[in-house]
Symmetry: C2
Subunit: 482 residues, 2 copies
Amino acid sequence: MSSPTDFLDAARALLGPRGFTDDPELIDPWLTDWRGRFSGRALGLASPATTTEVAALVRLCAEHGVPIVPQGGNSGMSGGATPDPSGTAIILSLRRMDMIREIDPLARQVTCEAGVVLQRLHEEAEKYRLRFPLTLGGKGSATIGGLISTNAGGTQVLRHGTMRAQVLGLEAVLADGSVLDSLTPLKKDNRGFDLKQLLIGSEGTLGIVTAANLRLLPEIGGRVVAWAGLPSISAARQLLLHFEKVAGDSLEGFEVLPAHCLASVLAHLPDARPPLAGQHAWHALIELVAPADGAEQLATNAETMLATALEQELLEDAVIASNEGQAEAFWQLRDAIAPAERAIGPAMQHDISVPVAKMARFVEEAAPDIEQKFPGTTAVGFGHLGDGNIHFHVLAPKGAVRGEWEASEGKVISAYVHDLVTQFGGSISAEHGIGQMKRDELGRLGDPVALALMRSIKQALDPNGLLNPGKLVPLAQEGASP
Amino acid sequence: MSSPTDFLDAARALLGPRGFTDDPELIDPWLTDWRGRFSGRALGLASPATTTEVAALVRLCAEHGVPIVPQGGNSGMSGGATPDPSGTAIILSLRRMDMIREIDPLARQVTCEAGVVLQRLHEEAEKYRLRFPLTLGGKGSATIGGLISTNAGGTQVLRHGTMRAQVLGLEAVLADGSVLDSLTPLKKDNRGFDLKQLLIGSEGTLGIVTAANLRLLPEIGGRVVAWAGLPSISAARQLLLHFEKVAGDSLEGFEVLPAHCLASVLAHLPDARPPLAGQHAWHALIELVAPADGAEQLATNAETMLATALEQELLEDAVIASNEGQAEAFWQLRDAIAPAERAIGPAMQHDISVPVAKMARFVEEAAPDIEQKFPGTTAVGFGHLGDGNIHFHVLAPKGAVRGEWEASEGKVISAYVHDLVTQFGGSISAEHGIGQMKRDELGRLGDPVALALMRSIKQALDPNGLLNPGKLVPLAQEGASP
């Protein structure tokens, strides 16, 4: 390996002053993930402007044995875009690659670069009376490249699938600097292994996504957002089955939360009001969408659907948002759960999934089990019932010290939650990915056959272990940088 | 390597007389693909009854260096399940593994083994008022394992996607005999690379699919099948855009055929009648489906949609099938094209795709170009316009000798067609796969970066090259059996 100075000179020469810096002040904001849980150091920050520049940089890194940490909006949940403390790696920011190369409104497709921010994509699509059917809390910072690399989820997965379902074509730079161009979308293409599927969700460990062709959908004609009070999460499951049956494709979101979460949010947001007058053990937030010209029909249908559910005793009470402002307010109650719970005190947050049919049972059994095993804790599960995806938070006992508790009892609790979810045939990472946060847990609990396969693939595609080392693949560091 | 006798004895001991045979009479029917285009020899025919037996057999083959050719219904289109002439490989038939392990009607999921025949799956789903949304001509023989391994398409891809979109979970035996079990369907699971995606469409070269969890949909309430006469394939594209807009999710199929195909079918099927009285250069077959209770509404809507299309001069004439019998008759006209064209004389048949927006232009330009370049030939394109998937047939000049023509001029024509489709950014295999038939063409025309990646993955997952050698991956044979 050559000296870092040689590499830095070469990188500067390659990318110019806008494209590469080793100025600590400029690098510093990108060394820590947005939640402040992971921090590292870096040799430099590369911000190439084109795919050609990314490819040349990757070749340069390969020559010099310099590891690469790809980074989009730096708003990931698992530390997947944060370098390790060694300071040997560079951060490769894709943020400068933010061109929307083409929108084809007839084919309903958009080709955009990795650095395009999700919210901007939404806005661009709207101009054509189209929509991109994936959204999430971090839409103001999350980039298309990051969303693809983590196979991001969000609140519309029930109907439209995760990021994987939106990607029609992909462009990526591989470990040797070659460019895989499968951007042209073909609805049917059976020329061998579907390589783009391998890159989606691989968190930058197999290649660096530089652009993608994404599907768009017609804009919606309107939506109905309803709030229902329920006696239990099992009842929520029954209500979901009811809506799947009667609402069909118009059912776009189905979120559940326990009374505890609603109370936390109401305490946290001074202007928030409870949607229903009475007390309910559980709540469901339901979103239905109508095609163009179908808004009135949907409003009528939605009332019938809720009335039938009430008759069948599938819910205790329900209300339909009377206007778009109220609909937004309902969603705000849902979106504010995480910050509201965080404000109460330290908590371990788990992004887990189980088969949809088992989700109610999991929450009903796991929550009291944990509260009993770890006295003083409060366990709450909320989230995407229709996807079997629970955000399962365990709040620390009163008086626990932030920072200390997470590293001691919190860690034990997380391992216990992961054990439970594995027993249920579930996943320790539903939508947030593995990154560095869950890598060791994946190594501990993952299927050994799947892990061996992942290691083989990682070794084959990145033999020198320079692509996002230490992330995602447990023990991948064994074969890392020579 | 040990002697074949050692292996045969061990295989017999492992699987018993029902599970393994080297009787040439019993093997013979499986040595040739159903269209009689590829033929080979085999050391034996294994028919394991369980995943455990498949795994043990694969381990045994690995020990003895015996290549394995997995086979389902032996109704593939590209020779992917036919052994080579060396006689060193065994055929591994999955047909005995035909259990439907579980149907979960609430979750709308079915877990079935690789040997389950597609038609049986349809029938099983119907018992629960559900349906499996993929069908194709060979449904009476095609197995789930084969459909997954080739990522099969069919006539419902427009709305429901290829086989890939139906697979929620997978069980497969890998080259070392280990079993990858990702059968449990999780709607969200971000624990690293999506390994099942790699196996889907890999034609048995990376692993042997033994079971799958598949999605089911609610049964339909009814369908409307319409036939339209059109001046051109460009007009068909406009009509498709119209239906995508006004029919939305109820549009389930949109097939196109030129006058030549219809004439061939009418000549071939004595009882068939033309759906329309007049002459039209092109025809479209349109299927719309209704949800439960929506049949009447759909029938009304369909009439309006066609009337609007007529007003807007998007079609010349149209008729709606007046009953299910007539609907079937319309579909029969479409399904009989391939046999009807074959009856005329020798033809080169190409299963290709281009971006949907370019399909009309491709057919309009390629057909006359080929007829001019190869005098006496007739070029016809028909198929799944909504998917950009054309079955592009070039019929031999009159008097051409079957068998001879295909191997001489026919071969040159195919290479020419593949060159053209590549220039259009398309695929030389839309839905039939690569197998042995198109392996060299994929090597010639495939993106070198993608090919290198495929070879790395093949080498990593099957280092001794024992899984379906000579299929799919160009030059994979370089690293084959030691």
